[in-house]
């Protein structure tokens, strides 16, 4: 597309949704559609309030820092970022700047974009509090303080991304990390992920590692969906490229902050660098500096599970699953965990993957439930697969058993027993039935031609009818054929 090289950096804000309480407040951290129900005095900044750090949120932040291969600080500090806005009742936001060191600094992440492995450098990761949410109505604005004080992780990358595809792939990668670490649902629909994007373009012939060769950086604030990120980046690359081509780059592309406007699908000027707000950062005096012990760091490190990116590799390389199946399995950690449990019980990974990605996922999607609320345990699935493998039931019966298990809340074995679904595998029993069928259908026996055994289907159907589907179909077929052939 463009003959210029785009350099893109992201600031990804992700709310931590999995703590019980907010980051400096004892109010519940709970996404709720009822406004202003999760509030303490601190969230509305009544006089005399003090922040109390949520250790669980710090732990989650440190965990993320480790996954991003950042360095962790020796001491934990928070700083005040001072500005007035109606969604910020205290008049300052508790956050972390780069001095003193935030929860993570200078890391590196590997992610995949269109099947290619890429590396992105992380400048820093910091823990902060979210502001309240404002709802701009026709002539008034309503404020919901439920969100005020919700823990927020801000990830700042180096400008190592070169396209909208890479940016979105990285965001998806991060979303999976947050989900896998049980830190956040990272749901953009709930406003849990919000991005600032910065974009510049440069001559691809020049060395991109030398910042002197970079173009003018434009920042786009508050892009609240991954689609928006893609569109905003593409729009901005196009705008900047056009300016280069028209020879108006120096006047049209200035160091500024723009915003993404969903309606016009364009970026719009907000403020230029000279108007930049001075946030007057200083260390929050109400939070004593907190020593992060090596023991704690190691304890946290041990809790990090295998992440999606590595699980996918394992499924493909060790289990021989297709990339397609592996991608579906790792998309949700809970599904992947379920799958791994089934495999750990001794089930063949391919059968397990077929069941999870097939019957189970479609059942979950159809009923809009999570695998965590799914009745059939990994042990039951293993039992079901074993029943089919041992030919106790046919795979078609397997599907009926699957639904019966969920419906009747019984184990697969119990369902098979209660429904009398055991297949007839006893050859004598099948032979008796074959004799009956032949007896009852002399006309069809006459018409049967071994060279053109179209009628065989009819006979097998009769057997199934008599056994109510319990005869093993392949045994029934081969025995019937043998019998008919012998009569000719």
């Amino acid at each position: 597309m463009s003959k210029y090289l785009a350099k893109i950096g992201l600031e990804m804000h992700c709310e931590i949704s999995e703590t019980n309480t907010k980051v400096f407040s004892s109010a519940r951290n709970d996404y709720s559609s009822t406004p202003n129900c999760n509030i303490r005095a601190i969230d509305m900044a009544f006089p005399g309030i003090l922040p109390v750090v949520n250790k669980e949120a710090v732990k989650m932040a440190l965990k993320t820092s480790m996954v991003l291969n950042c360095s962790q600080p020796e001491f934990m500090y928070f700083e005040r970022k001072n500005y007035y806005y109606p969604d910020l009742p205290k008049g300052y936001q508790l956050t972390q700047e780069t001095k003193p060191i935030p929860v993570g600094i200078y890391g590196e992440v590997k992610y995949e974009c269109n099947g290619e492995e890429k590396t992105l450098r992380v400048n820093n990761l910091h823990l902060e509090e979210d502001a309240a949410s404002s709802n701009h109505l026709y002539d008034t604005t309503s404020i919901d303080y439920n969100r005020a004080g919700v823990p927020l992780l801000e990830l700042v990358t180096e400008p190592d991304l070169h396209s909208a595809d890479e940016a979105v792939a990285f965001l998806e990668h991060m979303r999976m990390i947050y989900q896998y670490l049980d830190i956040s649902e990272a749901d953009t629909k709930k406003g849990q992920v919000r991005c600032d994007v910065n974009v510049s373009i440069m001559d691809p012939e020049l060395d991109e590692n030398d910042p002197n060769n970079w173009g003018t950086k434009v920042e786009i604030k508050n892009v609240n969906s991954f689609g928006g990120v893609r569109d905003a980046i593409n729009f901005e690359i196009k705008r900047q490229t056009k300016a280069k081509e028209n020879g108006t780059y120096d006047t049209d592309v200035i160091q500024e902050t723009r915003r993404w406007d969903e309606e016009t699908m364009s970026t719009i000027h907000m403020r230029s660098k000279v108007d930049a707000v001075d946030y007057k950062y200083f260390v929050e005096p109400n939070i004593p500096k907190y020593k992060i012990s090596k023991e704690w760091i190691e304890e946290i490190r041990k809790e990090i599970p295998m992440l999606a990116y590595d699980r996918k590799k394992k499924y493909m390389n060790e289990y021989g699953l297709s990339e397609y199946d592996s991608d579906i399995l790792v998309k949700e950690k809970a599904n992947s965990d379920y799958f791994e449990k089934v495999v750990a019980l001794g089930t063949d990974p391919k059968s397990a993957a077929n069941w999870v990605n097939g019957m189970i996922l479609s059942y979950l999607n159809y009923n809009e439930i999570s695998i965590k609320d799914f009745y059939m345990s990994p042990e039951m699935l293993k039992e079901l697969i074993d029943l089919i493998d041992s030919k106790t039931i046919s795979s078609k019966q397997g599907k009926d058993v699957f639904y019966k298990v969920i419906e009747d809340k019984k184990t697969p074995k119990k369902v098979v027993e209660d429904e009398g679904m055991m297949q007839i595998t006893d050859e004598n029993a099948i032979m008796n039935i074959i004799d009956e069928v032949i007896e009852e259908n002399p006309k069809q026996v006459d018409q049967y031609d071994p060279q053109n055994p179209k009628l065989l289907d009819y006979f097998v159907g009769q057997i199934m009818k008599k056994t109510k589907g319990k005869a093993n179909p392949s045994s029934a077929r081969s025995m019937m054929k043998e019998k008919l052939d012998s009569l000719k």
């Binding site: 005095a41 509305m44 900044a45 009544f46 006089p47 005399g48 309030i49 003090l50 922040p51 109390v52 750090v53 005040r80 001072n82 007035y84 109606p86 009742p89 205290k90 008049g91 300052y92 001075d278 007057k280 200083f282 005096p285 109400n286 939070i287 004593p288």
Partner: protein, 487 residues
């Protein structure tokens, strides 16, 4: 006055023996509150409906007391003496106040202060000037002006205060009473309207050292709502007062106490420093070793500027919550910016606005290194110097202010600059979070003056015990303004 001139222990005994009821004490205290209000304008609110409580073994139970108006008190107007909160009734209690309430103490009034504690005169509260009960032409100093005036006038045995630079310890001196701020974090700051968080302390004003110990024993304790609070359950202040001070060591600072260090000293200053040296003699008579030490004059001179920079910086941020949107009298305006501007412009006194401008200036990114961070560095140097002294001495003893209470009509700037350090050295107790207590040590022109002892962090019991012994060796313990002087 029958009872309110007595100490906490005396009152407790009377209550226990049934010689007086809590209701009688409350009624007397309320009556006195109205008289002192008339005379000194010490109160924002007088709680005429204060109710008696059952008498328990807690020394404070059933006894009336006053609360500075920057303590959040549930259901009771709490203004911080500011128009910006003139109608604010909190829905939660400050931890320190709720602890006193649990002890059975009965709040009878909320006391006037300099607006949000940002002043040292007691003249900037939204309800007007607080006058000194010893002489109503004089100020009480601030910011805990109403608390100091009321305790000195004998309204009750104690009132709570807060201290960011000297806001408990200076008014105590000007009003001839005891003012004690314990080590930073010993009393939770939750529910105290913040001025400068790293310097803010809670404390108490009383008429004797033991009362101060008893009250703080009841206010202190670790609080899950204040991360800077610490567990002091093994510290029992009142119980550790034994008056045994033989072999204790104090020092005073030559650069502050030597009259030759001041050009054209006023008569008052001469008397004040002479009186201070008499107190030093008293210490020696008690068996305390007292030595003169020297501290770099340049470092001492930097202290007032350090205070202005740090306190204004923190204050400007701490008070950004005052917008009139969520609480406070909301101002009219076409948009939120105009509403906030109008509320703050009309609500704050000029003095405070000046401090906000200074605070913003020193925090701006281009100024922060030169002012704010340098101030923090000098703060550290001063604290290190004091900690060095505490290795050798149990405390630093110094005169409070440059003399007795100033005239109200010329509080502006009659001080010659070279007494700045004398006026402001108590701030060092806030820089280090040191326990620090002022007790009365004499009279000049029939006005009380005070002396201060400051010790190392967590060494509160030792500091109080020295003050307790010294107080007993002087005739100013339990004195009441307008009462009989025993000189």
């Amino acid at each position: 006055m029958k009872y309110m001139n007595k100490s906490i222990e005396e009152l407790h005994e009377l209550l226990k023996e049934g010689k007086v009821t809590s209701q009688e004490l409350i009624e007397e205290s309320l009556k006195l509150s109205h008289e002192v209000q008339e005379k000194c304008n010490a109160f924002v609110t007088i709680l005429d409906d204060a109710k008696e409580v059952p008498i328990t073994d807690n020394l404070l139970s059933g006894i009336p007391f006053g609360v500075k108006d920057n303590y959040s008190t549930k259901g009771v107007l709490s203004t911080g003496s500011s128009n910006t909160l003139k109608d604010y009734v909190p829905f939660f209690d400050a931890t320190a106040y709720s602890k006193l309430k649990e002890a059975g103490a009965v709040m009878v009034n909320k006391t006037v202060m300099d607006e949000f504690g940002m002043g040292g005169t007691g003249t900037t509260g939204h309800t007007g000037v607080v006058k000194n009960p010893w002489n109503t032409q004089r100020m009480c100093a601030g910011s805990s002006a109403g608390s100091a005036a009321a305790v000195a006038a004998g309204v009750y045995p104690y009132a709570t205060g807060s201290d960011t630079g000297d806001s408990i310890r200076k008014p105590a001196a000007y009003c001839g009473i005891v003012g004690y701020k314990p080590t930073y974090g010993m009393i939770s700051r939750y529910g105290l309207f913040p001025f400068a968080s790293s310097l803010d302390h809670l404390g108490v004003l009383t008429r004797n050292v033991k009362d101060a110990a008893i009250v703080v024993d009841n206010m202190k304790g670790i609080d899950k709502n204040d991360m800077t609070s610490w567990d002091s359950s093994n510290i029992h202040l009142a119980d550790s007062l034994n008056g045994d001070v033989k072999g204790k060591k104090l020092c005073y600072i030559k650069e502050i106490c030597d009259i030759n260090n001041y050009k054209n000293p006023s008569e008052e200053l001469k008397l004040h420093l002479e009186n201070f040296m008499k107190t030093i003699d008293k210490c020696k008579e008690l068996g305390i070793e007292v030595e003169e030490v020297s501290v770099d004059q340049t470092l001492l001179n930097a202290s007032p500027a350090v205070y202005v920079v740090i306190s204004c910086a923190e204050a400007t941020s701490n008070m950004s919550n005052l917008t009139g949107i969520i609480f406070g009298p909301r101002a009219d305006g076409d948009n939120w910016i105009d509403m906030v501007k109008k509320y703050r412009t009309e609500g704050f006194s000029p003095l405070i606005k000046r401090r906000f401008v200074i605070g913003s200036y020193v925090l701006q990114s281009q100024n922060q290194e030169r002012y704010f961070r340098n101030a923090q560095r000098v703060r550290r140097l001063l604290v290190d110097k004091w900690k060095e002294l505490f290795k050798k001495y149990d405390g630093v003893i110094l005169p409070v202010g440059s003399g007795p209470a100033k005239h109200l009509d010329n509080d502006k700037n009659m001080l010659s600059n070279d007494t700045d350090v004398l006026e402001e050295h108590l701030q060092i107790g806030n820089y280090g979070g040191f326990p620090s207590i002022t007790i009365p040590n004499g009279f000049i022109d029939n006005l009380p003056v005070g002396v201060n002892i400051t010790g190392n962090c967590y060494d509160d019991a030792n500091v109080l015990n020295i003050a307790y012994a010294l107080e007993s060796a002087m005739p100013y313990k339990n004195q009441i303004a307008g009462g009989e002087k025993d000189e």
